[in-house]
Symmetry: C2
Subunit: 231 residues, 2 copies
Amino acid sequence: MRPEDADAIRDLPLFHDAREETFAGLVRAGFLQRFPPGVVLINESDPADFLHVVVEGLVEMFVTGAGRETTISIVRPVGIFILAAVLNDDVYLQSARTLEKSQVLMIPGEAVRAAMAADPAFMHAIITELARGYRRKVKEVKNQKLRTGAERLANWLIQEDAACGGEGWIELGFEKRVLSSLLGMTPENLSRALATIRTHGVTVEGASMRITDRQALLRIARPSPLIDLPE
Amino acid sequence: MRPEDADAIRDLPLFHDAREETFAGLVRAGFLQRFPPGVVLINESDPADFLHVVVEGLVEMFVTGAGRETTISIVRPVGIFILAAVLNDDVYLQSARTLEKSQVLMIPGEAVRAAMAADPAFMHAIITELARGYRRKVKEVKNQKLRTGAERLANWLIQEDAACGGEGWIELGFEKRVLSSLLGMTPENLSRALATIRTHGVTVEGASMRITDRQALLRIARPSPLIDLPE
DNA sequence: CTGTACGATTGACATTTATCAATCGATCCC
DNA sequence: GGGATCGATTGATAAATGTCAATCGTACAG
């Protein structure tokens, strides 16, 4: 692992306040692995052996059930996944696959639990992270139950733009089918929702989207801080 | 508060392993309040001042947005709500109202955070509880995104029956409109889903439901342990 | 350069879900 | 008892979403 990658991981809220030796121990216990695109990293129902840190690339969290499949979230560098399953030493509820060539640090669950017991600051960071993750999920449920597909799309555009600097310029980093699944709709439905939204201040060219009239987009998105503000 | 109520709270996973003085301090810091039915206890977007423990009665957690409203969960005795918001000293993301005459212990957030800092066992229980809550929410998202309304109803019946002893006898403890909102559908839609399900091993008489043919119900519910097993 | 593969888009149609309106049935209050 | 109220149900219709099929366009391999 390059030093700057270690620094980036160290800057994560989860590790930022941990003692130096705690962090060093976790990194030492971990395996840094490289994967090509399309590799399934973890499978729901398997025991949660590792906390995963996406150092480079892109990872999709997805779930299956009732004969269907849907995307729960996209994890970019530097981000973690599967913390809750590791802490409770339980099975995974979600699966993960790489969307690009990726580099992932895998830290054994046992090491995470030991570090937590030994370092109160790390324990505290875990609580904050878990509480934030819980609140993110509450917001996902709200987004899903209270909004139509077109509304979810409109709000996703606004959020994504804000996360990329608010320049009104969004470059989709993955396939549209993945976005449709993340938003809880079919690819066909997303195509139509994008067509609809073109008359509301958005232009689409392949994987590039541009917000040309923010007011018009806000009118149909009607964003709410209690759903859309990042947790 | 009656002694048996205190004992019931003490038995909650969150408090079970806490030191005696931690638990006593939390109860001493708390206010035991009685409320008539239909009272809004907390309002989303308000600062999270209290951890709430439902000692008696029934509380509905609900959210609003996009001009709509939906039920997130029903909290029965003895259950807690709003832990994550209190720990992160943030605003509520959900509102709560009583569905019946209820008795609620309200513990100041500051007391919870202080107790957590002073009692490692309590801190550990909080982590477990948060991780479980997170995983419950993941399951809710799966339930919502992967299933149709009728499927959610069928699985809710199976779960509810299991929670009440598995006798095939379910007594709805609240209005059907609340159930419809919990399942993410309109009251009209629930009526029709119940009508549909009558041909699949369920009889309905007012607020009483009976599973007469479990195999038939399981066939359309297709329950999955990674969605339906209680966390 | 060209054929192939694959994702995106579009059209037609089916299913699911929501909305609006009317009615039913039970409860409560006078 | 009788009227009023409120939730549940039913019918008719509309909107949202999913499914199936065909086509388009681009990227990639040969």
